[in-house]
């Protein structure tokens, strides 16, 4: 019997529609599955559509951005057409989200303990006191010192690292099956980032929570995720296991990204930047979106659009020339 995956994104396209103007496509026909307990990372640069993809899953798209086609399914149920009431039953209980900026995601006029307890009270039917006990327990698990006292604090009284821990405690308070993370450590100092990532890793391990982790930091994705999708101009251009993709990329953009990032373990490697700029989404090139910047592009790259296709066991890339570029190079 084949069970539906925990999360299944199918042919999802997002865009902005304005009166009298052509639709601007921001995310173009992307698909991926996340299995139970899986940790899936999405990397890409600003404007690649990675955060919007995550927000589409959480149904938190900013005003103006619409799902144009495709579906997001959670355990086989479509999340788009779902009535608001059943959606609310899932949000927080089954699917939780951690945002980049804890200060703007927390309620500034509510004590943090109450904010954590809110979700267990609502979803698990706990009494006020029991929910507060759980909140304090969650705070302890996230490594917050003196949790009983800190639970009485307001967000502005806490440091950035503590606020992010509060967000994690809040997100994990009902042991969700799926945790959506939008650059959760970008605003933190390195030593604190290290602590928070380890904490996430540990807690997800304990509760078998699946992760969808959006980041621009290749090191962070290597440390937190097993599977990876690389996004460029609203498309997933390569997908596979993080370690395999990093060791042997099969899309010219992935390779360019890896070559341009300083790697602490290879201090003598020259950094090679990707020439040019990402395309203007309002004026997409006809063919492969990476073609104008690609050193390996041939004629038909400018006219036909490559689709994700298997290139290796467990690896997909959206490039016509991947065999020529990478197998020629490694042979």
């Amino acid at each position: 019997m084949t069970e539906a995956p925990l999360l299944s994104v199918r042919n999802l396209s997002l865009g902005v529609q304005r009166k009298g103007r052509p639709t601007t496509l921001i995310v173009d026909d992307i698909s991926f599955d996340v299995a139970e307990g899986e940790r899936f990372g999405i990397v890409g640069e600003s404007g690649s559509g990675k955060s919007l993809t995550l927000r589409a899953i959480a149904n938190l798209l900013p005003a103006g951005v619409k799902v144009l086609s495709g579906s997001v399914q959670y355990r086989g149920q479509g999340l788009q057409g779902m009535p608001a009431k059943s959606r609310r039953r899932l949000a927080g209980r089954e699917i939780a989200m951690i945002f980049q900026e804890p200060m703007s995601a927390l309620n500034p006029v509510m004590r943090v303990g109450e904010q954590i307890a809110e979700s267990p009270r609502r979803h698990l039917g706990l009494s006020k006191a029991a929910a507060m006990d759980l909140a304090i327990d969650m705070m302890r698990k996230t490594g917050i010192p003196d949790p009983a006292r800190r639970a009485q604090a307001y967000p502005h009284e806490l440091s950035g690292g503590l606020r992010q821990r509060i967000m994690i405690a809040m997100a994990l308070s009902c042991s969700p099956k799926l945790l959506l993370c939008d650059e959760p450590t970008t605003a933190l100092d390195v030593t604190v980032q290290h602590q928070v990532l380890r904490l996430l890793e540990q807690l997800c391990e304990d509760t078998k929570t699946a992760l969808v982790f959006v980041t621009h930091d290749l090191g962070v994705v290597n440390q937190t995720c097993r599977e990876l999708g690389v996004m460029y101009a609203g498309e997933i251009v390569e997908r596979g296991r993080v370690k395999d993709v990093f060791a042997d990329p099969r899309h010219p953009y992935t390779k360019g990204l890896l070559d341009s990032a300083p790697d602490f373990d290879q201090p003598d490697r020259e950094l090679v930047a990707i020439p040019g700029f990402p395309p203007n989404l309002a004026d997409r090139p006809d063919g492969c979106p990476f073609q104008p910047r690609c050193a390996f592009a041939v004629e038909h790259c400018a006219t036909a659009r490559p689709r994700l296709a298997d290139v290796l066991p467990g690896r997909e890339a959206a490039c016509f020339e991947t065999a020529r570029i990478f197998e020629g190079a490694t042979a």
């Binding site: 640069e45 600003s46 010192p145 440091s159 950035g160 690292g161 503590l162 100092d189 390195v190 030593t191 604190v192 980032q193 290290h194 602590q195 990532l197 380890r198 621009h216 930091d217 290749l218 090191g219 962070v220 290597n222 440390q223 296991r241 370690k243 395999d244 990093f246 060791a247 360019g256 990204l257 890896l258 341009s260 990032a261 300083p262 790697d263 602490f264 373990d265 290879q266 201090p267 003598d268 950094l271 090679v272 930047a273 990707i274 700029f277």
Partner: protein, 361 residues
């Protein structure tokens, strides 16, 4: 390449084989007084103070890239502001070596220029690129009035932009291009020293590489001395010759780049290195994981200021405040146990991480 800046003569100080310094700060401190609210003023209550910098000695050598690393609140940006003269220190001196006797404010500001972190807020949106550069060139009389335009174009070319950028406004450029503009602006007055405060952390990785390359070429071709403030140690490792690590307003370790990463002699430096999310290593190295967050500079711990987070702290660390002392050629550390720290195992450059990974899978 056209050499845009012609360096004013810096008196050569033949001292060993280290190049002469261009800028030196001695025992610099900066204290901000807090709580001067209404009640404090009338009640005469004891004022709290925030020591952003607490006795920092640092010299920038001619033609080097010196990286300044540390977490928020370590005082690295305050130091940068003091160097460019935007903030007055409450104690200590800034020595600008090679500055003519009796040089005025204009000359001082010319010598040390700054590039800021956020290229979106550091350029005036209502001034075109051409008039931004021309204004500076005229004010500082860098070139005769007739050559202002030609010089502006040369500056743009130097940072990888074209003449057509002159009439454009900052909003017409991408983040990376804006950072190039900010660098062109800093170069316009032919400075000796560039202070760059996190100049690439707001940029995407693929753009970051081009800006790092630009900094490197400025160092090579113009002989600029660059103080490069960053929190990304992988970036620092690629660009700088020396690294200074700051913690809570103090310098805790300084050494050549290769030395500091292969033989860190302060537990905080080790913790920083171990916190780098690695791209090829298998998982976190956590020999030196630190707990908690940097304490507030309002309330600096007694003894060694790192001891509450330090995994190897002993009793002595709680009472004795270590000063930065030499422990090797060009290497200084402010740790009482600097000589006794175990040999560092996390040496990244020597680890061949990739083959091991493949086996494991």
């Amino acid at each position: 390449m056209t050499d845009v800046t012609t360096q004013p003569a810096v008196p050569a100080q033949p001292e060993g084989n280290a190049p002469p310094s261009v800028l030196r700060v001695a025992n610099i401190s900066k204290e901000y007084l807090l709580g001067q609210g209404l009640f404090g003023r009338f009640g005469g209550a004891k004022k709290a103070s925030l020591k952003a910098l607490d006795g920092v000695d640092l010299e920038l050598r001619r033609g080097e890239v010196l990286a300044l690393v540390g977490e928020s609140g370590s005082g690295k940006s305050t130091l940068a502001k003091i160097l460019v003269g935007a903030v007055k220190p409450t104690g200590g001196d800034v020595h600008e070596l090679g500055l003519a006797e009796g040089a005025g404010r204009l000359e001082r500001s010319r010598r040390v220029q700054m590039v800021f972190q956020d290229p979106y807020s550091s350029l005036n949106p209502r001034i075109s690129v051409g008039s931004m550069l021309a204004g500076l060139l005229r004010l500082h009389r860098v070139v005769p009035p007739g050559e202002v335009r030609a010089e502006s174009i040369r500056l743009l070319n130097r940072v990888g932009l074209q003449e057509d950028a002159l009439p454009a406004y900052p909003s017409q450029f991408s983040g990376g291009q804006r950072q190039r503009l900010a660098i062109a602006r800093a170069l316009a007055v032919r400075p000796d020293v560039l202070v760059a405060d996190e100049p690439v952390s707001a940029l995407d990785v693929s753009v970051q590489a081009t800006i790092l390359e630009l900094f490197r070429s400025l160092q090579d071709e113009l002989g600029l001395s660059i103080l490069f403030i960053a929190h990304n140690l992988a970036v620092v490792q690629h660009l700088s010759q020396r690294v200074a690590v700051m913690y809570l307003g103090r310098l805790v370790e300084i050494a050549d780049t290769a030395e500091i990463f292969s033989n860190p002699r302060h537990p905080y430096t080790r913790a920083l290195i171990d916190s780098i999310p690695r791209m090829s290593a298998d998982s976190f190295t956590d020999q030196f994981e630190v707990e908690g967050e940097p304490p507030s500079p309002i309330n600096v711990p007694s003894g060694c200021r790192f001891h509450p987070r330090c995994p190897v702290a002993v009793d002595r660390c709680r009472t004795e405040d270590p000063s930065l002392s030499p422990i090797g050629p060009g290497h200084a550390s402010a740790c009482l146990l600097a000589a006794e720290l175990p040999v560092y195992q996390g040496v990244p450059a020597l680890k061949t991480a990739l083959p091991a990974l493949k086996e494991e899978q």
